[in-house]
Structures are given as C-alpha cells and as structure tokens.
Subunit: 322 residues, 2 copies
C-alpha cells in the first residue's frame, strides 16, 4: 500500500471537523485559527513499542492511549485540546491493525472534540509521536512553578492500578484474570482530566499530570516552584484493584511511584480550597487532599499516619528502566 | 543518564529565545502567542534510520536535515517558521552524538529564528519526528489546490544531486570522493526556501516542496487543483554534480524523480510572472520556468526539446522503496 493511500484512507475526512481548521490533512501543512486572546499550548509525547507498551497491546487501546497521554499534558496546563498531528512509524501497513488503531484514536478525539490536522506515516519500528495543541485564555494557564508555602496538594481520581497491571505483565505480582483486566484498563484507557484542568484555571497555583509517579511529579513542582512538600500517605486515593489485592503499604508503593496514571496533581491556596473541592466534585471529579506545600526547598517528606514512610521505588525514568 | 538531564542539557536554555514564547521546555506544555490576524501553519515530518537516512550519517547533518525538511513544508505554505517540538527516539544517550546532533539543529534553527519549545526524548530505534509551527497572515497561505489552466510552472534552485548521492551510496553510480561530497551536501544540508515561500504569497496560485520528486509533486498539485501539466525537460535546472557526471537524459531522471531536494515547485499566472521572476532573482533565488498548467485533468506530459520523454523511475514512496 502506498504511503499516501494509507494516510488518506484511515485519517483523511474521518473524525472531528472543527470550524477553526481552514486546511487539514493533504497539503504541506495544516492551517489553524487560534481563538483571539488565547495562547497556544503545545505538547509532544512519544510511545515506543517495548518501552512504553508491550507488543501484545490491543491496537485500539494503543490508539486511544497515545492520544490520552498527550491530552493529559494539555489538561495539566488548563488548556482546551483542539488539534493534533500524528507521526506514525509502522513496521508494515496492515489494514486491520490500522483500522483498530485509528478507531481508538478517533474515539477519544471525538469525545474531546479534537481534530487530527496532519501527520506523517513512515516505515520503521512501531513508534507513535503526537504533537497536541490546544488553547487557553491569556494569563490563565496552569504551570508547575506557582506553588507557595501552605498551599494544599490535591490529586484527582485514584492511583496504583496502571502500575499493578505493568508488574503483573512482568510476573512481579500474580493477579486473577478479572483482576488483571480491571487494573489494565487504567493503563490501556487512561482518562485525561481535561475538564478538571480547565476548572482549575485562576485557582490552582501549580499543576502537573502524573506521568512519572506522584512522588517524582510533586518533586517537579517543588523544583520549579522553589518549595518543598509533605505528603500524607493515608490520604492517597488507592485504585480499586491495587487496594483489594495488596496490603496498604505495598499498594501505596504503586500509587506513589508508578507513572502512567495521568491524573492531575495540583496545589491550591487555602482561600480557593473550598471552591475547588465543591466545583470539581459537582462535576463528578474524584478529589483527594494528599499533602501541603512547605518552605523546605526541594524536600518531599512522606508520612503514614504521622510516622515517616519509606518507599521501595522512586520515580520512573525511561533510560533507567530498561 | 536520566531522561530529564538529557533533555535539559542539550535543549533547554540553548538556541533561539523568541519573545512570543511565554513558556518553553520544562513544563507540561509550551505556551505560545500567535500574532494577531495570522493563521497557524503546522506540519510534521519523521526521519527513521535506514529509511530516510543511512546509519553512517554525520549527526550534525542529521540534526540540520531533520529540521530543514520541516521548514521546507512551512516554506511551501508561505509561512514564517517560528516554533518546533522535537520527538527524539535514541538507542542510547551518547553525549558526543547529542552534542553534534543538537549543534546541527540549533544552527539551522538560529538561521531561521526558530525556537525549540518542547519535545520528548525516549529510548528506542533512532527516529526524529519534528512538529514545526509557523504563521501566515490570514488568507495569504499557499496551498496545492489553486493552479489554473495556463499558469506557468516554476521551480527554485537546481535538482538531482541529492538523488545522485543516494544512488552512489547504494553503489548504483560511481563517483569520485569530491563528486560524492559535493552531491551529498544537497542531501545532508538541504536549504528550505523560506524567503521564497513568503515572497510568493498572493502571487503563486499553488505551491509544494519537492519531497517526492518533481514529477510526483506536480502530480499532487494537478490532483488537488483539478488540472494537468506539461513539463519541458530541457528547462529543468540540473544540479552541478549530476550535470557534470551524467549524460543529460540520465541526469534528468535524477532531477525529475528523486525526492529529498526541498526546492519549491509552484504555479504563477501570466499577470504575476514578471514580478515573481524579478522579486525572487533580486533576492538571489535561482528560478526556472519548467512548464505550464493545462486543462487535461490529471495528465502530466513531459517533453525534451519538443519530443515525448519517458522516465525510468517515477516518484518516491517509503513503503514501496524498501
């Protein structure tokens, strides 16, 4: 199959068609109209077979997940996702695989009203690199650098099941099939917290999505904001499967150190705490207050019921992980 | 070396810093201010080792070329390049290789005032995927779809040396070392026709960059514009090396069918012809009138000194090429 036919068949003319796109797939570049008084938010995430996913992943899940992780970055900025470019490198052009892969991608794209405006399909080892673009009103973007001493630390959703599924694949923990399927859903089909991110504009002082693990990611906020943090492990929201199958301390290791969860981790000053809690809960966003920002620059203290708690593993690094 | 150190050392705080970038590398997304009354032009190109370049390529050339091919797409839209995101997949993190690679990329980025606003570095088979963004005043972008019967077909620069260098690598032609080095410069360090693209705004009726070969690319214009074309092979500008080492008919095959040249191919109506020729030549852009648009929809006729001329090879397709 020729490259151009391949692209046009599975991408061109399918999925969302936004009014702010003047020219989409099929020319040298796409032409987009960014709304007035808004900044463009741009992020890129790459998924490589064997590094970011196993080679037996469901192609539909891969298509879904590839876009979800990018939308999660836009969510962490408080941006409204709008347009994506997809660079797809494939060992071969298999129609059935592409059909399922693009079905997964179109599904999440439609849910968030995101248009695929362009991309590139090349032959090579399976790699998906997406550049996602969205917009945010001038001055309203959430960054990692605004956390202040005394701010409360919040996290959306619950944590630990994606990591549990990965370890089960590696044979490090034993799960029944229903347990694995339940946990693996968190890995295959993460839900980017797009609405939550937008509701946090002008209220959260900092925000990040959990892609490296909660401990590592609060560390990024502390570093960029020039602050420290204390975390109360007993408040960490454990996901259903990890909570059911493991003792609390072991489960907390998954919730605190495994990445690939794509929940939002953010800080809120005391004066906005009640508003944020009420607003997000009204919209059905699960929310937990897991700690507080301190002035011990660079220090992340972790306690469980008032006593120091030590983790078995910290953070997630691609180049260390192999 | 950890992923974050790797990214920050070679990209963060280096190269161009544009005033329209509010937030660059280091947060969940970059924040960009697109100029008022302008459209955003977005393009993505991926280069995979063994498909788009040989594994002995000079890392500096690879860094340069990866960005050049993307800027060429923006040039073909008449857009001003401004911001790029770089997704870099590497087998391992070698400081010396990265130093040279980023030096090549920073060099061309600085020349065109382009800022690297973000990206992602992952472990895997060597792949470079860049999403390049620029802007163009509302309604002034050049597309592939406006060519009209009678328009003149122009090409910038000269053609054939990049293809000659590739065939020499494959052992299909024999070149002396100086000949190879001269030809290979066209492959390693292509010059995107950024200024020419901007000068063609509101004058050219269609434009494309030559990445699939002149014959294939005029075919794309014909298809998108619903027209045909006749090409005069004797007017095709042959690059110095291919012209010196091969007989005309053989040289023309390189100039007409090999991609990877990154010159602009565009159409101009009679009333703008003189202005375009004078303007581009004043700015030192080499320009050749190589044919004329016809109303024979989808047909590309090729003659050499008035007689039909048949090519040995047509177009360039990644999935066919291996």
């Amino acid at each position: 199959m020729q490259e151009f036919e391949l692209i046009s068949h599975f991408f061109k003319g399918r999925g969302v068609a936004r009014k702010d796109v003047s020219l989409s797939i099929g020319d040298d570049a796409a032409l987009i109209n960014v709304p007035e008084n808004c900044q463009l938010a741009v992020t890129t995430d790459t998924l490589v077979e064997g590094v970011h996913f196993f080679n037996d992943i469901d192609p539909k899940a891969l298509g879904y997940r590839s876009l979800a992780v990018n939308l999660s970055d836009l969510a962490a900025m408080g941006a409204e996702p709008a347009w994506i470019s997809v660079a797809l490198t494939l060992p071969k052009a298999e129609a059935q695989w592409l059909e399922q892969f693009t079905q997964g991608m179109h599904e999440i794209a439609e849910y968030y009203n995101v248009q695929i405006v362009g991309g590139d399909t090349t032959q090579g080892p399976l790699t998906i690199s997406i550049c996602a673009k969205g917009f945010v009103p001038n001055g309203c973007a959430l960054t990692r650098s605004g956390a202040k001493n005394g701010d409360w630390i919040f996290v959306t959703g619950s944590l630990g099941d994606a990591g549990l599924a990965i370890d089960s694949k590696y044979g490090k923990v034993t799960l029944t099939e229903p347990q694995f399927n339940a946990a693996n859903k968190a890995f295959d089909f993460p839900t980017p917290q797009v609405a939550a991110g937008q509701m946090l504009r002008c209220k959260a002082t900092s925000c990040i999505d959990i892609s490296d693990g909660l401990i590592a990611d609060i560390g990024h906020i502390c570093q960029m904001s020039g602050v420290g943090a204390k975390l109360f492990a007993e408040n960490i929201p454990l996901a259903a499967t990890v909570k059911a199958v493991l003792p609390q301390e072991h489960a907390l290791n998954y919730a605190l150190t495994y990445g690939d969860e794509y929940q939002l981790l953010f800080t809120v000053p005391e004066e906005h705490r009640t508003t944020v809690e009420m607003t997000l809960k009204q919209y059905g966003v699960e929310l937990s207050c897991v700690g507080q920002i301190t002035n011990h620059v660079g220090s992340v203290e972790l306690t469980l019921n008032g006593k120091p708690f030590t983790l078995e593993q910290a953070g997630f690094e691609h180049f260390n992980d192999k």
